[in-house]
Amino acid sequence: MRYALLVMGAPYSHQAAHSALRFAQAIIRKGHHLDTVFFYHDGVHNASILMSPPQDELHMRNAWAELHEAHGTRLEVCIAAALRRGLLDASEAKRHAKTAHSVEAPFELTGLGQLLELQRQSDRLVTFAP
């Protein structure tokens, strides 16, 4: 089955993103295909390269990136929700004259249209929200 996930919770604040990651790993283990994880609302914070949790805690951003590397899962971030919350990739940072950026590949900034497209293409779109 083709799955996609919608994640709307910030890491370390709510269970949503942590549950989404475990669900993602579980469905892949079961042999399903996880096409894309889409981050919206406070979920965009999952994409921050600047998050620095203590070493004995899971690094959420890197855990998502590992999912991408191992299984090709796309990591898409709503650009409107991200920019408001200070999540910018290098080109957006340049466009907005910022001295730093906080989003890098494999996370991609994209539009909400992409979420609707995912919903159309997937057998299941599962939401994880606080």
């Binding site: 409107a80 909400l112 609707l116 919903q119």
Partner: protein, 124 residues
């Protein structure tokens, strides 16, 4: 149940009021984008979500854009099916005819039927 293409694309459930969080605004954003992409969108206001339809809202929460102008714009996007649960109206002490948009009042039992009637659902 018969599924009619005209009303069956997308149901967006809004469960938060206009102030205190960005859930309502970001839920409405998804609705507008879906409508702009040609999907037939219905909105369902549940719980505190009915407060999105309170008349006389001028400004948004401090420092934020108001959501009331988006409600006024819905018709332009052909989003004309606004569902409100009668239990929630009663709980908030509101009448359907005092809301700032024309709504369809449904009973609590009909909420699940509406979920079935739409091909997909987003919950904010």
């Amino acid at each position: 149940m018969t599924i009619t293409a005209a009303t069956a694309d997308l149901l967006v459930i809004l469960r938060h009021g206009p102030y205190g969080s960005s859930w309502l605004r970001e839920g409405l954003d998804v609705s507008l984008v879906a409508a702009a992409f040609g999907q037939k969108v219905s909105l369902m206001f549940l719980g505190e979500g009915v407060l999105a339809l309170m008349p006389g809202q001028a400004k948004g929460a401090p420092g934020q854009k108001a959501t009331a102008p988006i409600i006024d714009m819905l018709a332009m996007y052909d989003i004309d099916r606004l569902l409100v649960c009668s239990d929630d109206l009663q709980r908030m002490g509101l009448q359907a005819d005092e809301l700032c948009a024309a709504v369809e009042v449904i009973s609590g039992e009909n909420v699940s039927a509406e979920l079935d009637r739409h091909r997909s659902v987003f919950n904010f």
